[in-house]
């Protein structure tokens, strides 16, 4: 072991794909928690944040990491055959059984992160499995394809699955994903770690005021993903206005959510589910009139819209849960969510007292929308206070996170 390694371990946190926004923030938080958590435990790991070499990043994006003493390093993926990888493994002295034909090696034009003792991979989304050249753990977000097969169709996600199976541990932040790791990916339960679910509300705090007058609308946070159940939600909205005599407007926000606007000029050949929503709204101008498309708002504006909403609507078939619900609660906006395990977990963990509905039943949703319209104030009373929610910040949870991760980093 080198002198550096003897003094403190070097851990690299990989952001495998060139993401920005929430995903980039989340992976940075993992690096920060490792750094901060290890410092509090007297270990002070040497953390390297590895990001895809892409012009979309600038040093400003990583300013918060530099403040904590985390180094950054750009990289790109190189693909090797099994035989090539076996040769590399022989030379590194770290070998594992190899099942695949091709593997991905993170390349930094230096020694390809072999100066790091441990690899922390922030996502399992690999086209070809990660080459096991160092012991590594991988963070799994969700296995949507198990519940919403259209998300992958015929594609077999060998890269995802083998990356997880070759790791020494797979991390997830909801019990639901842990179950999928065991049952779907096929990994021993002892190799899984349920890490604390966190909600970083630092940026939301500045805009907080003790009292916000609510507008005459509810907010529906969605995006262009097919699993977000948009068409069924519109069926429910139509019922809400026509049968339940609902009076609140529906404001929509989220990445690419403006694609659903029938007047949208973006994307002349939309995906079938987007086309179906546009057609549905075009055929129902009265319904379309009640909907306001905000598109993807800057964070502060998004918080402003969410804080003035009477309640938040979240409707997906499956995902790993949404933090929008916590942000809404932070701004005294109660939550109406489809009933699925990660959202039940989030509601319980943060004490959101969310109201649930069956995502396959538009009639139930329209009833629940009407119920929320009548009862949003009572639901607001059931929301947790701000102090409670701030207990789930990355700084507060870093010691617990470190306790769990230190068992595998050693």
């Amino acid at each position: 072991m080198s002198q550096r390694a003897a003094a403190c371990k070097r851990v690299v946190v990989f952001l495998p794909q060139a993401y920005r926004g929430g995903t980039l923030d989340m992976v940075k938080l993992l690096a920060k928690m490792l750094k901060f958590g290890s410092q509090l435990a007297g270990r002070n790991l040497d953390i390297v944040f590895a990001y895809p070499d892409s012009p979309i990043y600038s040093p400003k994006d990583f300013a918060d990491l530099y403040q904590l003493g985390i180094k950054t390093r750009p990289f790109y993926w190189r693909f090797v055959t099994r035989a090539q990888l076996a040769d590399v493994q022989k030379m590194t002295g770290y070998s594992t059984p190899l099942k695949g034909d091709r593997y991905s090696i993170p390349t930094d034009d230096a020694n390809n992160f072999l100066d790091c003792d441990f690899w922390f991979v922030a996502s399992d989304r690999f086209d070809e499995p990660l080459a096991p050249l160092r012991p590594y753990c991988v963070f799994a977000h969700d296995y949507l394809q198990r519940y919403f097969p259209q998300s992958l169709g015929d594609y077999y996600e060998n890269g995802f699955i083998q990356t997880a199976r070759n790791s020494i541990a797979v991390l997830a932040n909801t019990p639901h994903t842990i179950e999928d790791i065991v049952q779907y990916v096929g990994i021993d339960r002892r190799k899984t770690i349920l890490v604390p679910h966190l909600a970083e509300l630092e940026g939301a705090r500045d805009d907080m005021s003790s009292f916000v007058e609510k507008g005459n609308y509810f907010i529906w946070t969605t995006n262009a993903g097919g699993h977000k159940n948009q068409l069924l939600t519109l069926h429910a909205l139509a019922r809400y206005y026509e049968i339940n005599r609902g009076t609140l407007d529906c404001h929509i926000t989220g990445v690419e959510s403006s694609l659903f606007n029938p007047k949208s000029t973006q994307d002349s050949e939309p995906r079938p589910h987007i086309r179906a929503v546009r057609d549905y709204l075009s055929e129902r101008p009265q319904l379309a009139e009640r909907i306001v498309f905000h598109g993807d708002l800057p964070y502060q504006q998004y918080l402003n819209v969410i804080s003035h909403a009477r309640f938040l609507l979240h409707n997906v078939v499956m995902d790993n849960g949404t933090l929008c619900a916590v942000e809404a609660a932070y701004h005294r906006t109660p939550v109406l969510s489809s009933n699925y395990p990660p959202m039940r977990y989030i509601s319980q963990r943060y004490g959101l007292n969310a109201t649930f509905f069956d995502p396959n039943d538009p009639a139930e949703l329209s009833e629940k929308l009407a119920w929320m319209e009548a009862n949003w104030r009572a639901q607001q009373e059931l929301l947790p206070d701000v102090e409670h929610l701030e207990k789930f910040s990355w700084k507060a949870l870093a010691p617990e996170f470190w306790r769990q991760i230190s068992t595998i980093i050693g």
């Binding site: 059984p97 198990r146 519940y147 015929d154 199976r165 179950e179 049952q183 096929g186 021993d188 339960r189």
Partner: protein, 553 residues
């Protein structure tokens, strides 16, 4: 009483794959234990080895039976057919390179390639111009001299290799096709319906002739032999049995064909011929034994007009698979049994799924699953089960896989359905597994689920599961109702025609597993009081009554 069992399966039927095969083990052992006499098993010559293998694998002592076949061994034509089938089977499963090919490769390597390489090394490393020139020239002359012989050899060799590969590919195709023919169609390949006699090919006629000669010998033997008091046929496939003029009885397990005529007649048209033979057997049958009142009344009486007095109902006994996975002498036998069972499944994985992209390194250590051991037949209701399972997984979020044991490769409808719904990673097929793996699969399952629409008696899956500690949920059909008390029925039965109800039953079963074990175990213990020896004893008692004319015939 000396008992003889009559079997007349056509060549090519794998008896180990058939439920009747497993029952033959129980019948033989039971009759022997009860009478103390060796049971005579009268069968065609091509079944001798299979029957012996089946009985010895089932733990039946060699002294408990004697196999009687036509003399002279298996007809040569069937031997050739058997060799061909075995070769096709090997082709189907073989992934490794043949030994002969490896030997040839080694010979070519040592005799030619290694010598050429030595020569090249010498030419590249020599410092002597004379040596280099002489060697080079000699090699060139030698190459030119042997070229007229060597070049055609290479061309012929390459062509033969290509031809061999093409033949092998063709045979694999044939093999894949033949493997998809279900048992009833295989039977029909030899025993075509007389109504379609004009469509029978010469080869098929010839095979039918061989089959008839073999079974005629068997019938003549039974009629000549004075040592056997009673003849028993475990099924109604063979009308030849009725030509035995000694006291006899036929077992009528079920008549799936007439319960699911559309599926069988449309999807497997050859089954009509099998049905015709069964009909003929029943028409000429003198006495019948069924496993349940439902089969006796609905099947034999109503459908085939058999007189009630000709039917005896003898229910099954409970199954017990626990001996396959029991581990003694450890501090924690439960944990040891679980580990052993996981090892068995992972051993199966390592042998059968080495190249399977998803399963080759899938860990079964903590896998939760529902289990339905069954062949894929119309009455087994597999599609509704899959639909119900999908709802339980995708809409009710139950974290469990579904493991089945049928051969899905024979059913493109189901394979396509699974792929279209992207369920092939959550529904796994352990096809044609030995009984020990079956016991391990039962033991590790969260629930045994049996959605069957029709069975001859109370399904074995209930007792097989509980014998290794796993409770069941089952379809609400008369054959099940008959055995399950009302208060338990509410907890464990479901409407097999409704996927939504199947999904609800899965949710209920998974969330109340311990309760189901508590509720079902007393019933299992009660069922266990009836042993296979009791079943044999009931059979023998019935045989005696028939022989003595107490029961009408």
């Amino acid at each position: 009483m000396k008992i003889g069992i009559f079997l007349a399966y056509a060549p090519g039927i794998k008896m180990s794959n058939q439920g009747l095969g497993r029952q033959l083990v129980q019948f033989t052992a039971g009759f022997h234990n009860h009478s103390g006499e060796a049971i005579a098993i009268l069968c065609p010559s091509w079944l001798r080895d299979d029957v012996h293998k089946l009985l010895s694998q089932g733990g039946v002592s060699n002294h408990a039976y004697r196999i009687i076949c036509p003399p002279g061994g298996i007809p040569i034509s069937f031997r050739i057919q058997r060799l061909l089938s075995a070769h096709l089977e090997r082709l189907r499963s073989r992934r490794t390179i043949s030994r002969a090919y490896l030997k040839l490769k080694e010979l070519l390597y040592t005799s030619i390639y290694a010598q050429v390489r030595k020569l090249a090394v010498y030419l590249l490393s020599t410092r002597s111009i004379v040596g280099f020139s002489l060697t080079f020239l000699t090699s060139l002359i030698l190459a030119i001299a042997i070229a007229p012989v060597a070049l055609p050899l290479v061309v012929v060799g390459a062509s033969l290799y290509g031809l061999a590969r093409w033949i092998r590919r063709m045979m694999r195709r044939v093999s894949a096709r033949t493997s998809s023919i279900p048992i009833v169609s295989q039977l029909n390949a030899f025993l075509l319906d007389a109504r379609k006699a004009n469509q029978i090919s010469f080869v098929q006629r010839a095979y039918n002739g061989v089959y008839r000669r073999e079974t005629s010998w068997m019938v003549n033997f039974a009629n000549r032999d004075g040592t056997i008091d009673f003849w028993f046929s475990p099924t109604v496939f063979w009308p030849e049995f009725n030509a035995i003029n000694k006291p006899s009885a036929l077992c009528f397990p079920d008549m799936v064909l007439s319960e699911f005529p559309v599926s069988f007649a449309v999807d497997h048209p050859h089954t009509l011929a099998v049905f015709g033979r069964c009909e003929k057997t029943i028409e000429g049958g003198r006495h019948f034994i069924t496993y349940s009142d439902v089969t006796a009344e609905e099947g034999l009486e109503r459908r085939f007009g058999v007189n009630k007095g000709q039917i005896s109902v003898i229910p099954h006994a409970a199954m017990d698979l626990s001996h396959h996975i029991s581990i003694e002498g450890t501090l924690d036998p439960g944990q040891a049994r679980r580990r052993f069972a996981v090892n068995l499944l992972e051993g199966h994985r390592n042998v059968h799924w080495q190249t399977h992209r998803y399963l080759s390194n899938f860990s079964f250590q903590d896998t939760k699953y529902l289990f339905y051991p069954s062949q894929i037949r119309p009455n087994k209701n597999i599609v509704n089960l899959i639909r119900g399972y999908e709802i339980s997984l995708r809409r009710k979020h139950q974290y469990a896989k579904l493991i089945l044991t049928g051969d899905v490769s024979t059913n493109t409808e189901i394979s396509n359905f699974l792929r279209a719904r992207r369920l092939q990673y959550d529904i796994i097929f352990f096809n044609d597994v030995p009984e020990q793996i079956l016991a391990a699969l039962y033991h590790l399952a969260e629930l045994v689920i049996n959605p069957t629409l029709y069975e001859g008696g109370f399904p074995f899956t209930f007792t097989e599961g509980l014998s290794v500690g796993t409770p069941s949920i089952m379809s609400d059909i008369p054959q099940v109702r008959q055995a399950i008390p009302n208060e338990l029925a509410e907890e464990m039965l479901f409407d097999p025609y409704s996927p939504e109800t199947i999904a609800n039953a899965i949710v209920h079963g998974l969330t109340h597993r311990a309760r189901l074990v508590d509720l079902q175990m007393p019933l299992y213990r009660k069922m266990r009081k009836r042993s296979w020896s009791d079943v044999a004893s009931d059979h023998v008692a019935t045989f005696s009554k028939i022989r003595d004319g107490i029961v009408s015939a």
